[in-house]
Amino acid sequence: MTSLEDEDAKTKRLSRHRQPSIMASKSDSQDDLDDPSSSSARPSKKSSLVVPPNLSDQEALFYKTAAKFTLGIREGQLESEIPEIPVVKIVEIINSLSKKGFLEILFIGNTKAFRIVKYEEAGKYRQVPDAHRHLSLSTQISRIASMEMETMMVYKQIKAAGNEGIWTKVLKHKTNLHQQVITRCLKALELKQMIKAIKNVKYPTRKMYMLYELSPSVEVTGGAWYTDQELDTEFIENVAKACYKFIYSRVRISLKIGAFDHRAVSSISFPRGQPDAVFAASYSGLPTATQIRRFILDSKISSIDLSLDDIIALLDVLIYDGKIEKRMPVFGGATGADPDWSDDEAVGDAEWRYKANRERKAGREESEPWTEVPCGRCPVFKFCTADGPINPSSCVYYQKWLEF
């Protein structure tokens, strides 16, 4: 649709020069064939067609004729369909209607087409801000209509961006307006409270704009894990720890965060009682993602609602840390973490079960042999040679280590 919008803008700019005298035509609306007040009652081809008020009869005629075509009336068809109105006048009508927002100009192939905007939807199409809803529909429309061309273009672009918002650079590119013009329009729109500026979490330095009443999409704010445009690592840590504890052995956390209640009867990943025991391969008490989610929600660790996808993302992080594993409870005992097991065959994410890996107990420490020796942590390891300025014989780190 962007090309269409571009053409829309171009057409508008062209039409600006033609200076339609719209007000003039309004006054001679004496043909009452299409009396606006009775048009809603009159049966027409489209029974629900409402012709907007304040249109001259010629405009109204055009409006009704164009309404017959769902894809808009094409340029070539103008003469055949509406022979009463000369082409020059039609041009003026088109301009005024589109300015008021009742007509859209589209491009189909090479030709232009003109599609009407239904009266009821004119308001919706505009997404009139809540603050203005108390104003009558006509006032709203006139407000919009009273915007300048450039502002209209800018506004249209921002609206088209919808939930995601639009960057100033992109806006400039699309409208082809000068930077200062855009800045002016943006200021005006902001004053009118029709758009607002938002901060994008991915690109904090960009200036993004979106319609006032829309809420930014998940992409922009980052979703559940972001608080104030920032990744809330502490929060993630807490929830992750709680998940791990739950998977390891079912623990009921009291409402006071940090105070642990009595442990529940059944444990999950490892049997209680024996310190070294394991469950058999066919054990089916491992929790699924939904169960974990329910636990997290019940225990109210997080103030915001975490969706199933969020929990699954968190569990994936725990898997990457090596703390838990995924398993598929398939008969025959195939492992779930097998990379050959393509996602197409997975029954569904809720079916995956999670098992905790055994914690390192004291005495069975998992220390890495290489980092025990000073060389493993040496910042100048790559620089050290047998007889250079840095060498093992005179290494300070070794000295400290050997004296320890």
Partner: protein, 564 residues
């Protein structure tokens, strides 16, 4: 290789160098130790050389060079090859770096010989390493039978590659015409198969059978027993492969104990012990197969397996305890479903035939080493990033598709290039990584860059336009696993070299003290040393202990990375 040269030189200095005579027991009683070092250095630097060239580079006489070579060949470090060059036969000598590196494990070998074959075993191993006379004790026979000691034949001193070349040349002579490619391939295949068969044969070279004297009544009931005795004309040496197999099995059993529990370790150990006879090399893909029944019979009755596992109680009532066979079966199932891939079911006959899957375990253990190194050095977040990069690339087709969609605007050629690049490697972009890892963008960028400079990650550039402007290219990260292992191995060798150098320096710094302490009268009467000297000695011993322990543990890592 260049990166092992330094370490090899250090090892030879230690094992055959001048200072070693005093403090180590593994050195030949050889007068001119430093000559041997020179010869070894020359061969390490220059590769294969004939005797004359060695003498030239080492600045020694040919006689001295020959003496050194004899020692080296005796210790299985050097090989020779007779190449016919026009009219005469030239003998080339070369040094095998693998053998030298395996010498690091001699300490472990001695210790475990003692453990597995009793005190005698340790003595036997020691003597053999020193190339002294060995008495044919029982322990010796056992060791030969189980292939820990292996008979040395004349051809063993020729390197394996040369032997292969000679065999091939012999075959080729039989043909009248020059061989076609297919014939050549066949010949080579036959030759390799023959070598394999010899290596895998169940006949132990060096043993001969002898009839035992029948004793009285027994002769009537049983057939005369056949004893196996060691032939006296053969020379023997330590079979490193066999020890490596044992070490590897231990690593696997320990891992099973760590991951599951003690009883699972017992089951694994029994499986591996049972198949040990048939294992020849560590590089095999799977162990000999075994059934649950066999294992349950082999586990000694004293070991109690029940307490460690909770079974579904449907099959058993409260009164009857599960039988050992059922327990073993359960453990085998557990081991099989574990994601480390310990076991694999080969056959469904009866209760199922299980094999230990070495290939999968190998990858898993290597990954574990890599992960723990990255975690210790760069933090657990970096480890997380690495894991994501190495796993997600393959599954994350959505991201790949997204990138390709964006490329629609690019030229046709570029899209082809990009498609190929993306298909052949598991690549992933920064934003995806950051989303999956739930880390702030700045942090992921920093960590990825650090890992990249250290050699654990690689960057794939995918340009959007014909000019390679950095702002208009995609940068995709991926993990080149084999290169990671290689980088790690090089670093470990380097560290070992450093440790050895430091050890040598510490010892040489106190050489005077050591001289004094080794004097005969001082050994008898410790009081001759002053307090201070005793303190120094104690410190020195502690230092050497620390360095040794570090070295052995790093050698353990090298075993996993290289030998398993």
């Amino acid at each position: 290789m260049a990166f092992t040269q330094r370490l090899c030189r250090e090892i030879i200095k230690d094992h055959f160098g001048p200072i070693v005579e005093r403090s180590s027991r593994i050195s030949p009683s050889f007068a001119h130790n430093s000559f041997l070092q020179k010869v070894a250095n020359v061969l390490l630097n220059k590769g294969r050389l004939p005797c004359g060239a060695i003498a030239l580079f080492a600045k020694l006489t040919q006689k001295q060079v020959r003496e050194c070579l004899v020692v080296l060949i005796q210790h299985n470090i050097a090989y020779y090859a007779e190449i016919a060059e026009r009219s005469r036969i030239v003998v080339y000598y070369e040094v095998s770096e693998e053998e030298i590196l395996l010498r690091i494990r001699l300490g472990a070998i001695l210790r475990y010989s003692g453990e597995w074959f009793g005190k005698e075993g340790a003595l036997v191993a020691q003597h053999i390493l020193r190339n002294e006379l060995v008495l044919f004790t029982k322990a010796f026979t056992n060791m030969v039978r189980e292939r820990f000691l292996v008979a040395v034949q004349a051809q063993d001193s020729i390197s394996a590659k040369d032997r292969a070349i000679n065999a091939e040349a012999a075959e080729l002579e039989k043909l009248l015409m020059p061989p076609t490619a297919k014939e050549l391939k066949n010949i080579r295949k036959l030759r390799d198969d023959r070598a394999d068969a010899e290596y895998h044969s169940s006949v132990v070279i060096g043993m001969k059978r002898k009839l035992a004297e029948s004793v009285g009544n027994q002769a009537k009931r049983h057939a005369p027993e056949v004893l196996e005795e060691v032939e006296e004309e053969f020379y023997f040496r330590i079979n490193n492969d066999r020890y490596n197999i044992r070490f590897r099995n231990e690593v696997i059993v320990n891992y099973a104990v760590d991951r599951i529990n003690r009883s699972a370790g017992i089951v694994t150990k029994t499986m591996l012990d049972h198949g040990e006879e048939k294992m020849r090399r560590t590089k095999e893909d799977k162990s000999p197969a075994v059934t649950a029944v066999q294992i349950s019979q082999l586990i000694p009755a004293t070991i109690n397996l029940e307490t460690d596992i909770v079974l579904e109680s449907a099959e058993f009532t409260a009164n009857s305890l599960p039988s050992k066979q059922q327990l073993v079966h359960e453990y085998l199932e557990l081991l099989q479903t574990d994601s480390a891939g310990f076991l694999r079911k080969e056959d469904e006959r009866g209760a199922g035939l299980y094999v230990v899957a070495f290939d999968k375990l190998r990858d898993h253990l290597k990954r574990k080493v890599l992960d723990s190194v990255v975690r210790e050095k760069y933090g657990s977040a970096s480890c997380r990033l690495m894991k994501i990069l190495s796993e997600k690339g393959k599954l994350d087709e959505k991201q790949v598709r997204a990138i390709i969609v964006v490329m629609v605007g690019m030229s046709y050629f570029t899209t082809i290039v990009v498609r190929m690049a993306l298909a052949t490697r598991f690549v992933i972009s920064l934003i995806c990584v950051q989303k999956l890892a739930l880390l702030p963008a700045k942090e992921t960028r920093e960590r990825l860059a650090t890992l990249g400079t250290q050699g654990y990650l690689e960057l794939q550039e995918v340009p959007k336009a014909a000019d390679r402007a950095p702002s208009r290219t995609f940068y995709l990260w991926h993990v080149p696993l084999n290169q990671c292992y290689a980088t790690l191995l090089v670093d470990l060798y380097r560290t070992l070299g450093n440790i050895r150098q430091r050890k040598r320096d510490e010892i040489s710094a106190r050489s005077r003290l050591l001289d004094k302490a080794q004097r005969q009268d001082v050994i008898e009467n410790q009081a001759l040393l002053s307090e201070e000297e005793q303190e120094h000695l104690r410190l020195l011993n502690e230092t050497i202990a620390k360095l040794d322990v570090g070295e052995l543990r790093i050698d353990g890592l090298i075993t996993i990375l290289r030998d398993i």
